[in-house]
Every structure is written in C-alpha cells, then in structure tokens.
Amino acid sequence: MAATVKYDEVEAGQEIPAVDYPVRRANLVMYAGASGDFNPIHWNERFAKTVGLPDVIAHGMFTMAQAGRFVTDWAGDPGAVVDYGVRFSSMVVVPDDDNGAVITVSGVVEEKLEDKRVVVALTARCDGSRVLSKARAVVQLS
C-alpha cells in the first residue's frame, strides 16, 4: 500500500481544500441497506418526527464515511488511513426534496508524526453547523 502524497512534501498547517458531498434520501436508503442500520429515523419522516427530530437525519456513520472519503481521496490509497475517529456533534437533516443536504468537508495537516505519518484534522459542516468534532485521521504517507 502506498499513499500518493509524500511525507517530505507536506507541511504542518497545510490546508486540504474543501469538498462538497451531497446527500439525498436515496443515499440514506442505500446506506441503510449496505450497513444494516435500519433505524427508521434515517428513512421515515413520520417516525423521525414522533421521536422529536425535525425530519429524517443521516446516519452518523454516513457522515463519517464522507469525511473518510475526503481523507482517502487526498491520500490516494485508502489503505494508508491507519486511525480514524470522530465525535458526532450535530445532525445532518435530509429533507425529501431534489436537493437534500450538503456535507462540506475540509482538512488541515495538524501534525507530522514519526514513520512518515501525519495527523489530518477534519471539519465537516452542514447547514452552518459542525456535524463532526474531534475528527482526526492518521495517514501513512510515502
């Protein structure tokens, strides 16, 4: 496995440009099927509202996967991600319309570690709120 990003060419503080990840109801249905998480708050508006939610919300793990995509696309080889953790800080509300929601992910190389590893700090926002906090990935660079 080999990341396409070279450790020697990366500096602490370097920013990774933001990417927008659209999410519509169909994506949540697909994610429910693929992950096995069929909690109705992720696909049934009627149920979501009965438990006090504003509307259907995305699986936290779907949002985590989008921020993971951001890191693996940057690294080149997804096998280069050796540690990845997040805290779920806010909901991604997905309305039943043609636009859905948009998760915007950006990153910064927070620290260079030994053995050509770096810590990437991630920011994920939706509708003005941070939907992930303490989001960090450790990536093995070349």
Binding site: T72, P78, G79, F88
Partner: protein, 148 residues
C-alpha cells in the same frame, strides 16, 4: 434510568466469523458514493500492493457490533429508543480486504454520566480466524436523558 456500572469490563463471546466479500465491499463503497477503484477492482487493488480489494475505513461498522448482545441485555438498562451515536473510532493494523474472515470480541470499557445523558463505550477487537489483530474499533453511544 442509569446504566448498570457492573457491565464495565464485560466482554462478549467471540462473534461468528464474518466473511468479507468483494460484493459487500462494492455495495458499501457504492452506498457511500465512493468510486475509488481500490474498493471495486481487484487489479487496481493489487497494483496498489493489496492482496485483493480493500474495504473503506468505516466498513467494520457492518460486522463489529457484536457488542450488540451486551447492549441488549436487560440488566444493562439501556433504552434503545433514546440512543444516539456519540463517537466512533477505527484503529488499523492493516486494511480489511476481501477474503478476510474476521472475529470480533467486544468489551464495555466505560460507562459515565455527562449532564443528563449516559455514555457507554464498547471496544471491539477484530482479528482474523487465525488470531491476527486487524483493527480495533471504539463505539460510544449516548442514551439521552438516561442519567436524569
């Protein structure tokens, strides 16, 4: 209702081995909208130095929740209707790849109150059937209002 602190340190029995297939990895990668050929194409994965297609970093959520049996134990007192996902982490020794047969053992590592909410953390150690550690996952769920 406060969660039963006696569950801290309790471990699940090893799960039935989970067979990681190319088809499941493709389904999962497609569901997260990721077309990276290393998830979809064995030759692309081999060219990158992997034995077969590998799985996205969050893929172990599909099979590592063998802690579910512990969480469902009525003695714990967890009200699933009030549960939200608090934190998640994956720590890798190597990527998961198609052909792996993986066994998870889950352990409750922490139960704590934060305000009116109860937090419970489950660590899952994921090994091959041969005993090789592949990854460790940490899953913290929050029971809203549980400590009130």
């Amino acid at each position: 209702m406060a969660l039963n602190r006696d569950f801290v340190g309790r471990a699940s029995a090893p799960s039935t081995p989970y067979e990681v297939s190319r088809v499941k990895i493709k389904e999962f990668a497609t569901a997260i909208g990721d077309n990276n050929p290393i998830y979809h194409d064995r030759e692309a994965a081999r060219a990158a130095g992997h034995p077969d297609v590998i799985a996205p970093p969050t893929f172990p959520i599909v099979f590592s929740l063998s802690g579910g049996a512990i969480l469902a134990d009525p003695e714990l007192g967890l009200n699933f209707a009030m549960v939200v996902h608090g934190e998640q982490r994956f720590e890798y020794r190597r990527p998961v790849h198609a052909g792996d047969e993986l066994v998870s053992v889950s352990t409750v590592t922490d139960i704590r109150s934060v305000g009116r909410n109860e937090f419970i953390t489950v660590r899952s150690d994921v090994t091959t059937v041969g005993g090789e550690l592949v990854c460790t996952t940490y899953n913290t769920i929050v029971e809203r209002g549980g400590a009130g």
